[in-house]
């Protein structure tokens, strides 16, 4: 498979790319959307079905920090999802806030883009600044950053698995949505008892019960363990004070390293336990009904920027980015239809585009001399860049009324080679599993179809835990992969700790390098990750201030609205493909658990999506399909009786 099939880019074997000939090579034709509620004939036909077709809005806009709402049209008779629209309901605007500022401000300001994982923005920003400034941290500075990243994930993954997604698999949720499964779970022995201690699958589900469950409480505790270690380097969480261009501003001594080691070690046992728990949950559902494999399924299209730099390979330059990025613990790359099509960071970067046909933004048309007014027709190595690439993008908000046909989201539609991509702990594990091994395989062995993780012993004996690339990709596998990612992350952190201690022995204790903010024109990009997937920052600067700053978050990739060609974003696509396996007698009893499990499996970084169904009260609004209230600019949260 050639690297790019949709973009007008020829990529040679030497990694150099050229633009294909043509009068307007980046041109594309848009496809008009025809939402059901805009089509009177379809609507009339559906309404004849006696209340079985319903519009179901998963809409938490009434809550404090609601940022995502999800609109669906479901046919409860055929148990199909007919239409989906993912709406990011907030404009965050960090790109605009950062324009014209001292570039060093970007670390602290961009961190505020997220209340869960601000630290990853800080580091991504530092990476982008290092590329622009032409500096690199000393090895220990990179180790410290790798540890910060690991500790964020060790906070984030348990939080997601047991506080946010877990409740959907807990006793109260299963009893109320599929009571037949609860009965079965009580009679199903738990295969992983030796690792987690639960006798039956039902006991696990009880343990996942919000507030009272033992697994819920344990996850709360483990998030604290990770945070305690994080603040030893970062100073505070989630917005660290010590991330700077060229490393970190805190000193690290052997005592800090030991304190961190103590806490990382707790995740070896915990990680084994969590894998066993999710294996038991996933296999139980699959055995009960193989259709569960298809909840939240979508094509195996994943993007990964790679993470955790090799302290001796990373030099911060774009010129060498392919080389140093391949030396990361997590390899950069793109998977299309299950096949790894590249591990070159320049190709990952080259394929990025963002579209705004269905977003509340204006098209930007640069005044540059490149095709379609692109300011930068090429990257710093001379590879072609799309006018829609983040380095060429301008954020121009255009608020308006919600229309499923026109614009309905504050998220852009990011695409790679014009395909919708998902990203997450699974993409970093998956790309690494398929990639040729580098020398970061001390505790983790990629096999081409799995990752073998050699876990040191604790209270549990040492073990090799293997995560397999799934045959069918869906919501349950996303959660299972995230459970494995706790071990994956802890082992990378362990490797970095050992490396850091070795540096200390050698006296390589410097953690930062000096720099001056350059006054000439510079470009920079940070390719890094957040708990829920790849994260990039692209900047240009001149005269000592930022000219442009673009943040592309994992949730932007996945909450994407439809693209110019009418193709759905990952949430939309996955929910559309989801069978409705919930057990309900009357349409009004439908809670949408399969839809919620699908959306939450992506670990959306939007507080609103964490709202579990609360009967008929706040967040799940069920209304009979109607065309009113959508295109008229009224509050889309309004429920029609």
């Amino acid at each position: 498979m050639s690297t790019f099939t949709e973009l007008p880019i020829d990529l040679g074997d030497d990694g150099r790319a050229s633009l294909k000939d043509g009068p307007d090579p980046w041109a594309y034709e848009t496809k008009e959307l025809h939402p059901i509620e805009d089509t009177p004939e379809k609507l009339a036909k559906l309404l004849e079905r006696d209340g079985q077709v319903r519009r179901v809005d998963f809409d938490p806009v009434t809550r404090v920090a609601g940022a995502l709402a999800f609109h669906t049209v479901v046919d409860l008779e055929s148990r199909q999802v007919l239409e989906t629209d993912s709406m990011a309901t907030l404009f965050r605007g960090y790109e605009i806030i950062l324009k014209g500022r001292d570039p060093r401000d970007a670390i602290f300001i961009s961190s505020r883009a997220c209340g869960v994982c601000g630290g990853v923005h800080a580091t991504t920003s530092a990476l982008a600044l290092e590329m622009a400034f032409g500096i690199q941290p000393p090895p220990m500075g990179t180790v410290a950053r790798n540890l910060l990243l690991s500790l964020e994930y060790l906070y984030d993954h348990p939080l997601h698995l047991f506080l946010l997604a877990g409740p959907d698999f807990s006793e109260p949720a299963v009893r109320s949505t599929n009571p037949e499964l609860w009965s079965k779970a009580q009679d199903t022995p738990a295969a992983g008892k030796a690792k987690h201690g639960f006798n039956t699958v039902a006991e696990i589900m009880t343990g996942m019960t919000p507030l009272t469950g033992s697994l819920y409480a344990e996850a709360l505790h483990m998030t604290r363990v990770a945070r305690e270690a994080y603040v030893l380097i970062g100073g505070k969480y989630p917005h660290p004070q010590t991330v700077v261009p060229g490393g970190i501003s805190a000193t690290i001594d052997a005592s800090d390293m030991n304190e961190i080691m103590l806490r990382i070690g707790k995740f070896f046992d915990y990680g084994q336990k969590v894998v066993a728990i999710w294996d038991d949950i996933v296999e139980f559902f699959y055995e009960a009904n193989p259709q569960y494999r298809h909840i939240g399924t979508r094509p195996k299209n994943l993007i990964e920027t790679g993470q955790w730099d090799d302290p001796y390979a990373y030099d911060g330059t774009y010129a060498n980015v392919d080389s140093w990025a391949r030396q990361r613990w997590s390899t950069p790359g793109v998977i299309v239809e299950g096949k790894l099509v590249t591990t070159a960071m320049t190709a990952v970067n080259m394929g990025l585009e963002e579209f705004v046909e269905h977003s509340f933004y204006e098209e930007w048309t640069g005044n540059g001399k490149g095709p379609r007014g692109a300011q930068f027709p090429e990257d710093p190595l001379g590879n072609p860049l799309s006018p829609y690439h983040p380095w060429n993008k301008d954020t121009i908000p255009k608020p308006g009324s919600t229309s499923w046909k026109e614009k309905y989201s504050w998220s852009t539609a990011p695409r790679w080679d014009r395909k919708a991509m998902e990203t997450g702990p699974f993409s970093r594990m998956w790309v690494t599993a398929l990639s040729p091994p580098n020398d970061k395989t001390k505790f983790i062995e990629p096999t081409g179809h799995s990752l073998r993780m050699n876990v040191p012993g604790g209270a549990l004996p040492k073990a090799t835990v293997e995560w397999h690339v799934p045959e069918i990709w869906g919501a349950f596998e996303r959660n299972r992969a995230r459970a494995n990612a706790i071990l994956y992350t802890a082992l990378i952190a362990y490797d970095n700790l050992l490396m850091g201690l070795d540096m200390m022995r050698k006296g390589e204790t410097a953690v930062s390098t000096s720099y001056k903010v350059p006054k000439d024109f510079r470009m920079g990009a940070g390719f890094w990750g957040a708990g829920r997937g790849s994260l990039t920052h692209h900047l240009t600067m001149d005269d000592g201030v930022l000219e442009n700053y673009q943040i592309l978050t994992p949730s932007t990739w996945m909450a994407s609205p439809k693209d110019p060609w009418g193709n759905p974003g990952p949430y939309e696509e996955a929910v559309l493909a989801t069978p409705l396996l919930e057990n309900f007698e009357k349409p009004e009893d439908f809670k949408g658990i399969d839809v919620l499990r699908t959306i939450r499996s992506f670990d959306p970084c939007m507080p609103c999506t964490t709202h579990i169904h609360t009967d008929d009260r706040v967040i799940t609004r069920e209304v009979i399909t109607c065309a009113c209230g959508v295109d008229d600019g009224s509050d889309h949260n309004h429920a029609h009786a």
């Binding site: 809550r63 404090v64 920090a65 997220c114 209340g115 869960v116 939080l159 506080l163 946010l164 409740p167 919000p210 507030l211 009272t212 709360l220 998030t223 604290r224 945070r227 603040v231 505070k236 969480y237 989630p238 970084c605 939007m606 507080p607 964490t610 709202h611 579990i612 609360t614 009967d615 706040v618 967040i619």
Partner: protein, 171 residues
């Protein structure tokens, strides 16, 4: 984590009161809580500690449960409730919690970065860490928007807010 601005350590046997300001920074009048957390510590009488509660309430629950119990907690915030701007309302929290589903919603918000008074009361109230005696001081904000300055009205109310805090710390 939380920033403690208190400079005094209470002696053994002295009544212990913790004052916490909660809210987001740089939201003008709505940032009364963090402002109080930043400024009151130096003037705190013996036995009174002042902290910034502007972090997620699950962390606050964990921090409070680690400590020796306080005799009273005083929380200062500026939630918008529709009262006349500048209104100062002091009340004893009634410890009434919503349904478990609603508590879970609040916990989810807390761990995903939401900081607000109501969430704090529910989450810490449910998970533990509060003493029996919790006093809340609410200030109705006036002007809305970004910035690090208060409206004239709220600026003129700062002495009264501080007075309400100190009064609330008394036995």
């Amino acid at each position: 984590m939380a920033r403690t601005t208190t400079t005094r350590t209470p002696e053994v046997g002295v009544r212990r009161v913790l004052v916490g300001g909660i809210g987001y920074r740089f939201l003008r009048d709505e940032s009364v809580g963090p402002y109080m957390a930043d400024t009151l510590g130096e003037r705190a009488p013996e036995g009174v500690e002042v902290e910034d509660f502007g972090y997620h309430p699950v962390g606050l629950h964990q921090n409070l449960t680690d400590r020796e119990a306080y005799d009273r907690l005083v929380i200062v915030a500026a939630p918008r409730r529709g009262r006349a701007p500048g209104t100062i309302t002091t009340y004893q929290w009634d410890r009434v919690l919503p349904s478990p589903e609603e508590i879970q919603v609040r916990v989810s918000e807390a761990v995903t970065g939401v900081i607000d008074l109501d969430g704090l009361l529910v989450v810490v109230g449910a998970l533990g860490g509060f003493p029996d005696d919790v006093v809340v001081i609410e200030v109705e904000p006036g002007e809305e928007g970004w910035g690090d300055s208060f409206s004239e009205l709220i600026a003129s109310r700062l002495p009264a807010i501080e007075e309400a805090v100190w009064t609330s710390t008394l036995p």
